[in-house]
Symmetry: C2
Subunit: 474 residues, 2 copies
């Protein structure tokens, strides 16, 4: 495929379309191949470009036609303002961590692994096997493919101590990604207007899901050691909350990793309040100098609602996660999932199970750990050398991010703009706070593309920081 | 792969596991292959069975081990009753249309196409191409892959009359199935406790989504011609609703198909009340003696929120649908989708687009129409001959189902049980009514497996009906 020829053909066709009348039929692919001396693939690519621009339309089996130009009369949708009323819950716009950045910038803003850190060979092979299997033409049960439920239960059960009864397959509900799980859990377990405790700062997607569910978010301060148990106890009492959302393992964004003692204390508080702990184990596969040790492995009384995702570590296209919950709460969550989307694509479920049960998966995870370790250390050193104003309070023992405290008075918006002007995309920390930010923070992803550019990134950050701080001075 | 040998090996291993202690390591696959003189695939299959039963666990790269038996101490989850409080909205259990039936029964209960009516070759080829493309290792924008948005917009625009401005790609939000779309639309457009008008009877999945959203469902009676415009007008006035959910094309379950005149009248009422019409065009690809003609093609003022699914016609594993909405309502829906699940798997999106843009898709749809026609007529004839008590008020010009009015006083539960005892699974009509059923109805799917058994199915139905009616007599 040749990008240049395809652009050239697209440009020529665009001129042709402009001159033609709406509904006119384009020359066939065969004719275009001959005219432009290009391959059919290149011609198809050019046609797809024009089609995506709304200039032409292909009717399968008939041909390709010039589309009628959209009438220029501006539409008046003003009546919708009355029909829509005020939104039930204010949902913030798409987070900056989800922005796609152009190829020529250094992108440290995202929450995903760089493509070269993915088990690409395993994923493609698994998807192809799944495409050839029953999973390509069937449905799946609402709670997931039994073999995948069993795998999720087995993984957690293997970490349970001897006196704790591990979960079984029927405790598992497979999800189309853990965001869907957060939405369902919050909807199922917290009624609109009731309180939900969340660590602060915490994952922006969880804040979004809580907003969508219309619950009242009560932030609990949390640092590298997790929340203070006394503070948590007070928050439960004061708010009447029955649910705490937390990330005990390599928290996003802080990289916090709770000690076994802290985990036990928090669980004690949760139990004492007859409450649930929604444990988001998003970084289970991203340990660097520590292992993921789910709190759920200490609990067999149904207090922990455990979320485990494979999307980030397997592939962003394989949107598969699971919630493991015991007791009636599992039924409540399953009912919400059924109403929300009936079942998860068995193709994606089969592919996910295939990847994580290959011998290559364990060796991939070992390699990934080494790569994350190198990248983390590289970015830490670069920031310390070139942006010393940004303080790294805690070198994360796992996860994908550094969480930097910036000087008081830093104008975060200005900082982000200055960085972008110099070719560096960063994520201002504001979005990770359920309420007012405790200070100016920045999250940098060391698992993104171009580790060779970390030095340059830190230099840009240092310079921009200089400007973003002094700009605020009187 | 040999099912018998795999069962034999599984049985032998089960005995071995029972005799072994928890944590003991099983012989390697190679050893098992030698011991049982079976292929590695057969051995793996046996191991997967045991794993799914929770008897063993495989640790990738390490080996397979006997799992610790779950402690028999019964867990007490009673405390959850307080923490869960009453459910925010009563969500009914999974619908009977989603039940999976054993292979040896005649299954006329489901809402899906039989596998042999799917474009299986196109689907597998598309999935394999997608697995080899960028889509296997990337994310997608929140509103969908641009080329797929463009396809959905183009399909609807092609049906718009000359004086109606057709939608464009940016009016489209790609969805992981239309159930997810219903949930999002109801959440985004109707606040909890507000009224939502729905045809009665109507799709059970829409009723479920409305329950989940916590809205107040107001049923509007609807027959083969669609709802009566005067009745609809009164319902809008009385309830203060700003949204009507309807299926103008081959409605599920009734097969109703609105005439152009009725469509125009309904749209007129919707406009007069400054309201939205959520048009669920679920059966777009299932025309038999009529063509799908979306109401959305009459509207460019943003009144119609159009839902189009590919899941049923392409493959139940390719969970891809779209909502097309214009004006601020589209942003409201998109924000809900973002909070609910961030984005739709690009692999599934790419595969769906691949299938519907193949030349083979148009010819597949032609064949499908012929097959649906034959099957519908076959089941209609069989029911009329062998179960004359069941009245078919309307032979559907498209869709997948017959909607049968049964004699007054029919005990539907008893009927379903009697049918099942004789090997026929049917769907009692109760679940398609948002409030009390207007009478005893039954939905039969003529697109399911085994059309050769339709005669037998109708005979069973006739006999069971006899018993289910007389059982009620004093």
């Amino acid at each position: 495929m040749d990008d240049d020829s395809s652009s050239r053909i697209a440009a020529a066709l665009r001129d042709w379309v402009r001159a033609a009348s709406p509904g006119a039929r384009l020359p066939s692919t065969r004719e275009l191949v001959a005219t432009h001396r290009a391959s059919p693939v290149t011609v198809q690519r050019a046609l797809r470009t024009l089609s995506a621009q709304g200039l032409i339309e292909t009717r399968a089996g008939v041909g390709t036609f010039v589309r009628a130009v959209r009438t220029l009369r501006p539409a008046d949708y003003g009546w919708q303002t009355a029909a829509l009323r005020s939104p039930h819950s204010k949902i913030t716009a798409v987070a900056s961590a989800l922005r796609s950045a152009p190829n020529d910038v250094i992108a440290l803003h995202s929450g995903y692994l760089d493509r070269e850190l993915l088990p690409e060979r395993l994923v493609r092979a698994a998807l192809i096997r799944a495409a050839r299997s029953e999973a390509a033409v069937t449905r799946a049960p609402a709670s997931g493919l039994p073999a995948l439920q069993s795998w999720f239960a087995g993984e957690l059960a293997a970490t349970c101590r001897g006196d704790v009864t591990g979960p079984v397959a029927s405790d598992v509900v497979v999800l189309p990604g853990s965001q869907a799980g957060l939405s369902s859990v919050f909807r199922a377990v917290v009624a609109p207007g009731q309180a939900l405790l969340m660590e602060s700062p915490t994952y922006w997607g969880a804040i979004l899901a809580a907003q969508q569910a219309g619950v009242r978010v009560v932030p609990v301060p949390s640092g590298p050691q997790g929340p203070d148990p006394d503070e948590l106890d007070r928050a439960f009492t004061e708010s009447g909350a029955r649910v705490l959302y937390a990330q005990p393992t390599f928290a996003n964004p802080t990289g916090a990793h709770w000690s076994p003692q802290r985990a036990a204390e928090v669980l004690q508080v949760v139990r004492a309040h007859g409450a649930f702990l929604v444990e988001d184990d998003w970084a289970h596969d991203f340990g660097i100098t520590a292992e993921a040790a789910p709190l759920a492995s200490y609990d067999d009384a149904g207090h922990v609602i455990y979320l485990r995702s494979l999307t980030k570590s397997v592939s962003p296209t394989v949107r598969v996660a699971a919630v493991i919950a015991r007791g009636p709460v599992r039924e409540r969550i399953l009912a919400d999932r059924g109403a929300e989307s009936l079942y998860v694509s068995p193709l994606l479920q089969a592919a996910a199970l295939d990847v994580v049960t290959q011998p290559g998966w364990a060796s991939h995870l070992r390699t990934l750990r080494r790569q994350l370790h190198e990248r983390r250390d590289l970015l830490v050193a670069a920031v310390r050398e070139h942006a010393p104003q940004a303080v790294l309070e805690h070198v994360p023992p796992g996860g994908l991010h550094l969480w930097l405290r910036l000087p008081d008075g830093t104008d975060l918006d200005l900082l982000a703009r200055r960085c972008e002007a110099e070719g560096l995309v960063v994520a201002p920390g504001t979005e990770w706070f359920p309420a007012e930010p405790a200070g100016p923070y920045l999250r940098l992803n060391y698992a993104g593309p171009q580790p060779a550019a970390f030095g340059e990134a830190a230099r840009i950050l240092g310079r921009s920081l200089e400007e973003a701080v002094t700009a605020r001075l009187p």
